[in-house]
């Protein structure tokens, strides 16, 4: 494993190439433009296809085409661009096509700004497009983790024939950190006997999500629901807890990382503070969070949004445990000290 200093966007791009991604389609949008720049140079070197499309709508449909043809494919974008992709994501799910998608979230709604945000949690984990589905969503909190997540995502998306979203944010996309790049060739595209490669020596393959007969569509949906249950195997989280926590802090991505500083400081002062970081946002680490929260007097959630993951946490944490929230949005990143003060005041007020 080579250890190099890389920007988040570039590390994710390089990890995809090392995972055997052989097609990348993109459209410029800040704060993830370095990813498309990197791919425009590296993809042809690696013998793959790079194409800058006319819109994110076209991008996601190109992803769909490449996935239908059976190759490992990825795209990346940022919030407004990912909104435009929702139609195509629903089609990927309906047709059971594997693809890796990256959202380097920025402030919204609307054009918003280009600063870090976590306000696309609902869009990513609750469906986003039309129809009954949820998207496999992983949230990294370091450049190294983002790279390995992208790498692993190619195996996961093929395993379930269901798209995988890497939900990063503007901060993770832009920071530079030492990263251990995964090895080229260790992850191999699976054999896809369903892919469109020309009907030679086999019956013709069809990729579709169209079932005019309601019974047929219900059956297809039941099949998808059954498949989604198995995705529980991909649940990932990180926790640093004890049996007698005064407070359990729950956060993901960049905010989890900032909160770690605040938690360390409080622990230095003798406070019993635990931290729980969901890594897979869907499927959400429900039972792990539930049992962790039962060891705490109160739970504190912080996000760069006005409370999206909060709804899942409130749903999971037993009613008798109070869940407090602190969110910043619009591209504002909370500082370690700001979160420290917030936590400290919660601790001093008691339960």
């Amino acid at each position: 494993m080579v250890r190099v200093l890389m920007k988040g966007t570039e590390a994710m791009a390089e990890a995809a190439i090392r995972a055997g991604c052989s097609a990348y389609f993109g459209y410029p949008i800040t704060p993830q433009t370095e990813l498309i720049h990197y791919m425009s140079r590296r993809m042809p070197e690696a013998g793959g296809v790079f194409l800058q499309a006319e819109s994110e709508v076209s991008v996601i449909n190109m992803v769909y085409g490449a996935a239908a043809a059976g190759v490992r494919v990825m795209t990346s974008s940022s919030s407004p661009g990912v909104s435009l992709m929702q139609e195509g994501i629903s089609y990927l799910v309906g047709a059971e096509l594997p693809a890796v998608l990256i959202n380097v979230m920025r402030g919204g709604p609307g054009l918003g700004n280009i600063q870090p945000s976590q306000s696309d949690y609902f869009q990513s984990t609750k469906g986003g497009g039309h129809g009954d589905y949820k998207l496999i969503t992983f949230a990294p909190s370091s450049v190294s983790e983002a790279a390995s997540m992208v790498y692993d995502a190619f195996d996961i998306t093929e395993k379930y024939r269901h798209p995988v979203m890497i939900l990063a944010d503007g901060a993770l996309g832009q920071i530079m950190e030492p990263v251990s790049l995964p090895e080229q060739g260790a992850s191999k595209p699976s054999v896809k006997n369903w892919a469109l490669t020309g009907a030679k020596g086999r019956p013709a393959n069809k990729i579709f999500s169209f079932y005019l007969d309601p019974k047929g569509l219900e059956e297809h949906n039941l099949h998808l629901q059954e498949k989604f249950k198995n995705i529980d195997d991909e649940i990932k989280y990180e926790e640093d807890i004890s049996d007698d926590m005064e407070i359990l802090v729950v956060a993901y991505g960049t905010v989890a990382r900032i909160l770690k500083n605040a938690v360390q400081k409080l622990r230095g002062e003798g406070k019993k503070v635990g931290i729980f970081r969901p890594i897979s946002l869907w499927p959400f680490p429900e039972s792990a969070l539930k049992s962790a929260s039962m060891k705490a007097k109160q739970v504190f959630v912080s996000e760069m949004s006005y409370g999206q993951m909060l709804e899942d946490v409130r749903r999971i944490v037993p009613d008798e445990i109070e869940v407090k929230f602190y969110g910043r949005a619009g591209g504002v990143v909370p500082s370690p000290n700001e979160l420290y003060i917030k936590l400290k005041s919660l601790l001093e007020r008691g339960v």
Binding site: S58, Y64, G65, A68, V73, G198, I207
Partner: protein, 249 residues
């Protein structure tokens, strides 16, 4: 004693078409299937199907087929062609699909000179959803959403797709045909064949526009509808070759 003089193209399945009497989709399907057979391409062909009446293409063609969201077939086909070496890729799209919701996709696929064939069926109406105005609806034509006839002052003018796309450098071949009589079917077949050759010779984007009847959507008996194509549609959409960069021998 009898000799079989005609058979179903091998590239079609045995499934019976669901199209209304007098609809031209069936003829156009057959022309494409025959040409796939002629060039021995069945095992290399990947079709990208539209949304609209021809959404069932995947049941009719015995080739690999991918569905595409409404209007997005050129983007899907772009990717399939680019990642699949040596495969033959075509889209089959209607006028609502290609000339309304999918305008960006078709324009940019043409501008990039994607080496795909597009078979564009223009029947001046949204057939599957119940006969609403399409971008190609003729001025004055009555539809479910222009009950008094298309008023160009309010609903604008029809889009002429062949004329619009022909100037792009990436486009190798565009011809507008119709299939309303045996004579025209033969002409249309030769246009299909030519479009195939342009892709096989890697000349870039090719498109055949078929003026097509929709007796149900137009509220006409099949014979009148075919006549209406010849007498009215060809005035708005003149037949002919709009682009032809030339094939190798």
């Amino acid at each position: 004693m009898s000799n079989q003089i005609l058979e179903r193209p091998k590239s079609l399945t045995q499934k019976q078409f669901h199209y209304c009497p007098g609809c031209h989709h069936g003829i156009i399907h057959r022309l494409i299937a025959e040409t796939i057979d002629e060039f021995d391409l069945r095992e290399k062909t990947i079709i990208v199907q539209p949304v609209g009446c021809a959404v069932y293409i995947y049941e009719y063609f015995d080739t690999d087929v991918s569905e595409a969201a409404h209007g997005r077939a050129p983007a899907v086909a772009t990717a399939i062609k680019r990642v699949s070496k040596g495969k033959f890729v075509l889209t089959y799209q209607g006028d609502g699909d290609l000339a309304a919701i999918g305008t960006a996709e078709i324009v940019h696929a043409a501008a990039r000179g994607e080496n795909i064939c597009v078979f564009f069926v223009n029947n001046a109406i949204y057939g599957m959803t119940g006969g609403q105005m399409a971008p190609t609806t003729l001025p004055g034509m009555k539809t479910a959403t222009t009950p008094l006839g298309r008023d160009v002052k309010k609903q604008g003018y029809p889009i002429k797709v062949s004329e619009m796309l022909a100037p792009f450098e990436g486009v190798s071949y565009i011809e507008r045909v119709m299939v309303s009589s045996p004579k025209h079917v033969i002409k249309a077949k030769s246009a299909v064949r030519k479009a195939f050759k342009y892709q096989l010779q890697e000349k870039g984007f090719s498109l055949v526009e078929f003026l097509s009847a929709c007796p149900t959507g137009w509220g006409m008996p099949p014979v009148d509808a075919a006549k209406w194509v010849e007498e009215n549609m060809t005035k708005q959409f003149p037949l002919g070759v709009y682009k032809e960069v030339g094939l190798d021998d």
